[in-house]
Structure formats: structure tokens, C-alpha cells
């Protein structure tokens, strides 16, 4: 299992701040595609991703127990 953290509008659309899903040993790109099938109202094409609090790319492979976060474009400061 992996943890998926959701923020900002993604959190509101999906209605959860955290998901626990059986998607380990897949790439971020594959998980994004899976998410968009599970939640058709979500578009993750331009959303950045972090794995265990480090920015990752769509080719990064997620392992059992990892925490991934979908990071919509930020607006802090």
C-alpha cells in the first residue's frame, strides 16, 4: 500500500486529504493515470508530485509504504 496526500483544490474535489491505495511498484505517471480514472473530475497532468517529501518525476517508481503527495501549483508567500 502507498499513501497519497492531497492538497488545495484536489483535496476539495476528492473530499479526502489522504488516500491509502494498493499502487506500489508503479510509476508516478501510472498512478496519475489511475487516479484520473478513479476520479474523473481530477486532472493531474500539470500537478507536481513528491515522494517522501522530495520532488519526483512521472518516471519515479513508488515502493511499498511510500508517501506520495500531489502538489498543485503553489501560491505561498
Amino acid at each position: 500500500m502507498i499513501n497519497i496526500l492531497l492538497f488545495a483544490h484536489l483535496q476539495e474535489i476528492i473530499g479526502e486529504s489522504k488516500l491509502c491505495v494498493d499502487q506500489s511498484d508503479r510509476t508516478i505517471g501510472q498512478i496519475k493515470e489511475w487516479m484520473e480514472i478513479q476520479y474523473p473530475q481530477v486532472n493531474l497532468q500539470h500537478v507536481m508530485t513528491a515522494v517522501n517529501e522530495e520532488f519526483a518525476t512521472d518516471t519515479t517508481v513508488v515502493k511499498q509504504g511510500d508517501t506520495i503527495a500531489f502538489i498543485p501549483p503553489i501560491s505561498g508567500g
Partner: protein, 152 residues
């Protein structure tokens, strides 16, 4: 009481406490940047804001920014506190303090820090207007993406 140089807090920020974190006997200058909640943006009136963060990663990114600053200006010392939750107009959202032996570096490193915060630190703001709400979506801070579909 925490002495961490980098913090995400959900209470009003004490500016003086952030400044004190960078005091140094060899410092000849401290710059303090205070980011506040603006009421009018391009003619549109903000009622209040809500900030959300991914706190553990945000602190890591503050540390990375500090590291980058150390590489560029080895004598600069940085402290950053960002607030989350409900903020009203004129409330302080972020405080960045930088000390250095001379003022030029303190100014430059401080500007570098806020620029980088807007690029890499996972913090989001939601605007509350008279006619609706929107999570603001890009690093230039003024383009909303209601469908979660920004272009980078």
C-alpha cells in the same frame, strides 16, 4: 518554545522572534521581509484568505532554500516562518529574516528566499471574494485554476 529556524505555524507570527533567530555578533545588517494579505488584486476585492501547507515538506524546502543561500552567500543566516489557516486583510502570512555582515547580502538573500518560496515550497492560498472562492494556482500567484488544470 521552539528555536527552529524554519516553521509553519497556525497562529499570528511574532516578527521580532523571527528576527532574533538570525542575530549574530558578526552581523552588521538584518533584513526582515513581511508578506501580508492584500485586499485588492487587479480590481478584485479579497475578503480573507486561507493558507494550507504540506508542513513537513515545506520545512524541508525552507531548509533547501537556506542551503542555496549559504552556497551563494556563505555569511548569510536565514529564518523563515509561514502562517497557515484563516488570514484576514493585512495579516502577516510570511516573515523572512536574513542577517549578514553587510547589508547588500542581507537584501539580496532575502529577495532570493521569497522568490524561491514561491517556486518550491508546498503552500497554497485560497482566495475568498465577495462572489466566490478559488485556490490560487501558479507560482506567479495570480492565475486561478478552477479545474485543477494549470499550465506550467
Amino acid at each position: 518554545m521552539t528555536t527552529s529556524l524554519f516553521e509553519i505555524v497556525d497562529k499570528p507570527i511574532d516578527v521580532e522572534k523571527v528576527r532574533q533567530k538570525v542575530t549574530d555578533r558578526n552581523a552588521g545588517a538584518i533584513t526582515v521581509f513581511i508578506g501580508t494579505v492584500r485586499e485588492m488584486t487587479k480590481g478584485k476585492k479579497t475578503l480573507h484568505l486561507e493558507y494550507q501547507a504540506y508542513p513537513s515538506m515545506a520545512v524541508k524546502m525552507f531548509e533547501q532554500i537556506s542551503k542555496e543561500i549559504q552556497e551563494k552567500w556563505s555569511e548569510a543566516k536565514v529564518a523563515i516562518t509561514h502562517r497557515v489557516g484563516h488570514l484576514d486583510i493585512s495579516d502577516i502570512a510570511v516573515v523572512i529574516a536574513v542577517s549578514s555582515p553587510h547589508r547588500k547580502i542581507a537584501y539580496e538573500a532575502n529577495e532570493y528566499a521569497i522568490d524561491r518560496i514561491k517556486q518550491i515550497v508546498p503552500i497554497w492560498k485560497k482566495e475568498y471574494w465577495e462572489d466566490g472562492t478559488e485556490w490560487i494556482g501558479d507560482q506567479l500567484e495570480n492565475v486561478p485554476y478552477p479545474k485543477g488544470n494549470p499550465s506550467i
